[in-house]
Subunit: 396 residues, 2 copies
């Protein structure tokens, strides 16, 4: 029936972000995002796990929240109970865990439950771009706290908390990625973890601990989660399977006590997280976590070394970066006058994608001369070629 | 580190819904929600499809939005292009389709893009409880339009639109489930579909067409989608795989042109819908849709007949309902003085769960003497036993 088109621009919500651009495909030398290593996706084992879980109870698929209810499939939550205890020192039961559709949903559920427009939160000065986007979209103020190689600088944090208190502002949380920070790769020292808990108590502000990357430490033993040190319910803890397996499956989790959990559940209005992902990962990780994560850490360590060497070779003394103790990123500092945003399109023209620093910074301009490079996805030869080409883009 | 617990109640967002109750497990005689038939979940075929898709490109799992980009896996979108053309008369390309994490996300993305607090929308007087919840949570006003066995009463709709126009209010959309309406099971006549398009044009208000149940018609030929009759981009169309396969997998979709699609994408901040679900369903339905949906329709028809007979036997003339042309619900009218909410707990004590009418009504009190019964999940003997017991709960 022909008629007059509706002009949707006259009825859109007036606070929408700009429209998306059409998707252009993936670049050849892909250093952006948090993609994982395709060689490490256990495709054969996933076939085995699928065969196991699809001989189970079909009600898991035929029903909303069949086994385990709205907090998620029990096999996966039970795996997490064991992993959190063994790897992160966190002692919880399956009842304290909510499986989410990616850790992004975990962040947004916590935001939904705690935040209102005009609220204030504290974030690390360089931090996850998605967390900043969510806060901007909600009209929440964020204050960046300085960090160094050992995590948040507690003197600066105390100053911020004291200043806010004088203004009568109680921040809703302190968001931290203490273990393999995104983007810097730093690990907060144990001493600072205790200091952070003390400040949290002194100013009555919860800690929002994001441990999406903690599985990817290259070492055997490492710092416990802040949640493991907390006996007074002041740490909301989240994690992810995107980094240990891959972000194409959408699985994350929140660890929280019932006072908060009951609120997260009332705002999880997505009718549950997909059970096929949960069942397959629950089956696979219950049997193969240790060997899988060993292989993942080894592969990432090699790629990290290759990227570091390529940067030294092709960028020389013009770049400065710390070699991280794990994870999938290098946070690379360019000469002070460089604006990393200015080279994005030129790099894409050469098939290279990197993340300009400002997106990962509470104060964008303060990270103008940084870039974030993810080394998990490209092969070792793609890393070498890509960095050689990238140096030419930056005309070094 | 022992310390003083944080009292989260002092920092919760003040507009939160009440906290969730702890999960109590599923009742034996389960007539609630939109659960599907466990016998119809193709577990063996899912094992085959999993074996197929997990021998494909591992980058689908290792990367965000690898194949197909942020709108979803191409095999699944291409299946939908064919299905929408063959079954619903809708002529679109894969570029017009966005795969969502369940159709609930489809609804919420459209809401996010179009609605602000204080806006007004029009809904069918009896309608999907989730859609009403989403609107309430957003502080959006909804006006219920009367329906009969042929869908929305156009005289009433015109009256509402005219009244709003006089008040200077342009409603943001008219939400309709035209084909196997939830909860009534009615199918809007073709004549009314055209009339609805005319009114949409006259008052410049888009139509939000929810076809979550349209796959489940018992007949061979049936009314085309309203989107199929629309040449002027005034229909936003959504659908689901929860009803044709099962809600444990979280897959729905939106059909929209780029002006709206680009906005939906900018608000789809969940880093993509899970690819394992998409790949398995894309593989399975590309090969087996016709036979699958034939079996599903036959099974639901049988269960519908069993439920209808059980109601007649045990409730007799005290209940009134239309036998629907498909779907998974009976919308059952009890005597006028009955308050269906009053019997929910008594029924649960007997292991029976049903949905009280008020949850499915723009004006809750107007549906006090209705209940909604989903017949897809329970076996035929559970339907018979459950209804016999339910009649005793209602003391008939």
């Amino acid at each position: 029936m022909p008629g007059t088109n509706i002009d949707y621009s006259t009825i859109f919500n007036k606070t929408l972000p700009p429209p998306s651009n059409k998707w252009q495909g993936h670049p050849k030398y892909n250093f952006i995002g948090g993609h994982s290593d395709p060689k490490l996706v256990p495709m054969d084992s996933f076939i085995e796990s699928a065969a196991n879980v699809f001989t189970g109870d079909p009600r898991n698929i035929a029903m909303y929240n069949f086994e385990g209810g709205p907090q998620g499939i029990l096999s996966l939550r039970n795996f997490l109970v064991g992993k959190l205890a063994a790897e992160r020192g966190i002692d919880v039961s399956a009842e304290d865990i909510l499986i989410t559709s990616g850790s992004g949903q975990a962040i947004e559920l916590i935001n939904e439950v705690l935040l209102e427009t005009g609220d204030t939160v504290i974030v690390e000065s360089f931090t996850f771009s998605g967390a900043l986007s969510y806060l901007r979209q909600r009209g929440v103020n964020f204050i960046g706290v300085d960090t160094d190689d050992h995590g948040i600088r507690m003197d600066h944090l105390k100053g911020i908390l004291e200043g806010l208190k004088l203004e009568g502002i109680r921040p809703k949380y302190i968001y931290t990625i203490p273990t393999l920070q995104n983007p810097t790769g730093s690990v907060m020292s144990m001493e600072r973890r205790y200091q952070l808990l003390n400040l949290s108590e002194e100013y009555d502000v919860p800690i929002f601990e994001d441990e999406c990357y903690a599985d990817l430490i290259f070492e055997g033993e490492y710092e416990k989660a802040i949640r493991a040190l907390d006996d007074s319910n002041r740490v909301l803890h989240i994690g992810s399977f995107s980094k240990s397996l891959g972000p194409g499956l959408r699985l994350g989790y929140v660890v929280a006590s019932w006072d908060v959990m009951s609120r997260l559940l009332s705002r999880k209005t997505d009718a549950g997280t997909g059970v096929i992902d949960q069942m397959i990962v629950g089956d696979y990780f219950s049997k193969h976590y240790d060997e899988h994560i060993h292989d993942m850490r080894s592969a990432l360590k090699r790629k990290c070394d290759v990227l570091s060497a390529a940067l030294r070779e092709h960028f020389g003394p013009l770049v400065d970066f710390e070699e991280p103790r794990g994870g999938m990123y290098l946070w690379v500092k360019l000469p002070p006058e460089t604006d990393s945003r200015a080279y994005v399109q030129n790099a894409l023209d050469e098939g290279i994608a990197y993340n300009p620093g400002p997106d990962w910074s509470a104060n964008p301009d303060a990270a103008a001369n940084y870039i974030r490079l993810c080394f998990a996805l490209p092969s070792e030869s793609e890393i070498r070629e890509g960095i050689e080409k990238l140096a030419k883009v930056f005309k070094l």
